[in-house]
Amino acid sequence: MSRRWIIVTIILAVCVAIGAYEFPGLRRHVSQLKQEGPSDAENRRDVVAPQISTPTDVQSSAQIYWLAAGSSDTLAAVTIQLPLSADPVQRSRQVVAALIAQAPTAAQRTLPVDATLLQFYLLSDGTAVADFSDELASHTPSGILSEQLAVDSITHTLAANVPAIARLKILIHGQEADTLAGHVDLTGFFQVATPAASANPQPQPSVAPGLLNSPPPAGSATSGQK
């Protein structure tokens, strides 16, 4: 073998060694970019539902309920800084938008990333109506637990940041839906309460006196209203 071929072989071997050393780092970097970059769904959502900004916005601490880190069945409050409006309707839209878009990690999301809040109404008695896009129903994982966590994350987040709301009606694309994703009933109202309030309900009998046509317990924190 001539001297020239030996030099070429050495150069190639050095290149291969450098490539082998750098390759795992490059793979990590690419996967990080994939995770951090906005997905198509996120880009679409940003176009459909641009950031809500009002003249009364003040940078404030907001408590948003996502899945607890490392858990797939418990919600936990995370405090983030958000510009929040003094108007309860706009404030509600801002916190729900944050709930959808700003989860600390993808695994902690409770609502589909491409779902959008189309409209939000608040009546004088504290009844709120939230109208979501179809993606809320079509992309929420099917199951009682996952659907319950999705609804609870909305009601807890509203309770923690918009005290004027007492109960919530969820619509899908302007219509009353039978269920969220096949299980949780959307034909009624959800009580808007923080987990602390939900955890201290009025005691209720497990079996009603007289079984039938018994009066329901007043103020039960577990119940909504029909």
Binding site: S146, T179, D185, G210, T222, Q225
Partner: protein, 297 residues
């Protein structure tokens, strides 16, 4: 004179027989309920007015089916298939205990919510369980759900409802003794809750990591059931191997059988006497309710 009174006596007898017939007919599910028509008023049986000695009927509902596979895992596991397998094993175990069992489906079909409810509401002295597999949750755990109690209509809530819905028209109940189909569960929420508590305790002993108290959630299927009714959901469809879910069938079946045996005397007593438990028992049973979650009614 004695002969003249005889036709009157016969008329009384005939009237009595007609009234008795009408009374028994009012317990049956009307044809409209068996095949509900959208928009038409529907009714469910008012009470499970079977005598206390009537045999218990367990109605098992394997959720989803047909075109609706329910939750599906990345390895191709489908909820509708898993719950049907669970239901068949549970049926065999309950029948071995001498109980009558009815299934809402025994093939890959998808009856509607109301069709499934009609099957339960046609039974006397029934208990209803709907079986599910979740998309999320810690694998190997199991949860029980019942409906939350209906909240009283406050003036503010009524006003809110009237702002969203057409004003209710107050009319006399044309079907005395029957109740609205859409809220048939309302009168059974406390019994359902008690059954859920008994079953959740059994499940917590068999599946580590499961909660010890059931949750109250507005599960759509339960709303139209005129009997004690609960949903059972095991976690989760995300397991990589179907055998992990299949392994849950036997302890799940055992837990359900035991809970039903514990619940039956309470159900018979409540249905027979319309008397609730003594106050201390009520207070003790109410304590675990604190851990329940939200629901829409």
């Amino acid at each position: 004179m004695r002969n003249a009174k005889f036709p009157i006596f016969l008329a009384f007898i005939a009237a009595g027989a007609l009234l008795a017939h009408a009374g028994s007919a009012s317990q049956a599910v009307p044809p409209a309920a068996a095949n509900p028509t959208p928009g038409a008023p529907q009714v469910a049986p008012a009470v499970p007015a079977a005598p206390a000695a009537a045999p218990l009927v367990i109605v098992i509902d394997p959720a989803h089916g047909g075109a609706d596979p329910g939750a599906h895992g990345s390895t191709g596991i489908e909820e509708s298939d898993v719950v049907l397998s669970f239901a068949r094993q549970l049926r065999a175990a309950l029948q071995a205990q001498g109980l009558r069992v009815v299934m809402t489906r025994d093939a890959d079909v998808d009856p509607s919510f109301d069709d499934r409810s009609a099957i339960v509401n046609a039974q006397f002295h029934a208990i209803f369980l709907t079986l599910h597999v979740s998309s999320t949750g810690t694998p190997g755990t199991a949860r029980v759900y019942s409906l939350p109690a209906p909240a009283p209509q406050t003036p503010a809530a009524s006003a809110a409802s009237s702002a969203l819905l057409p004003p209710p028209v107050e009319q006399p109940n044309p079907h005395p003794g029957l109740r609205a189909w859409d809220n048939a569960q309302d009168s059974f929420v406390y019994l359902s809750r008690r059954f859920a508590e008994l079953l959740q305790l059994q499940l917590a002993q068999r599946f580590r990591g499961s909660p010890e108290v059931p949750a109250t959630v507005a599960v759509r299927q339960l709303r139209t059931i005129a009997a004690p009714a609960i949903a059972v959901e095991v976690s989760s469809i995300s397991v990589s191997d179907r055998r992990q879910l299949d392994a849950m069938a036997e302890p799940l079946t055992d837990a359900v059988v035991r809970a039903i045996m514990d619940f039956e005397p309470l159900y018979v007593s409540a249905a027979g006497t319309e008397a609730g438990p003594s106050p201390p028992e009520t207070a003790a049973a109410a304590a675990p309710s604190a851990a329940s979650s939200s629901g829409a009614r």
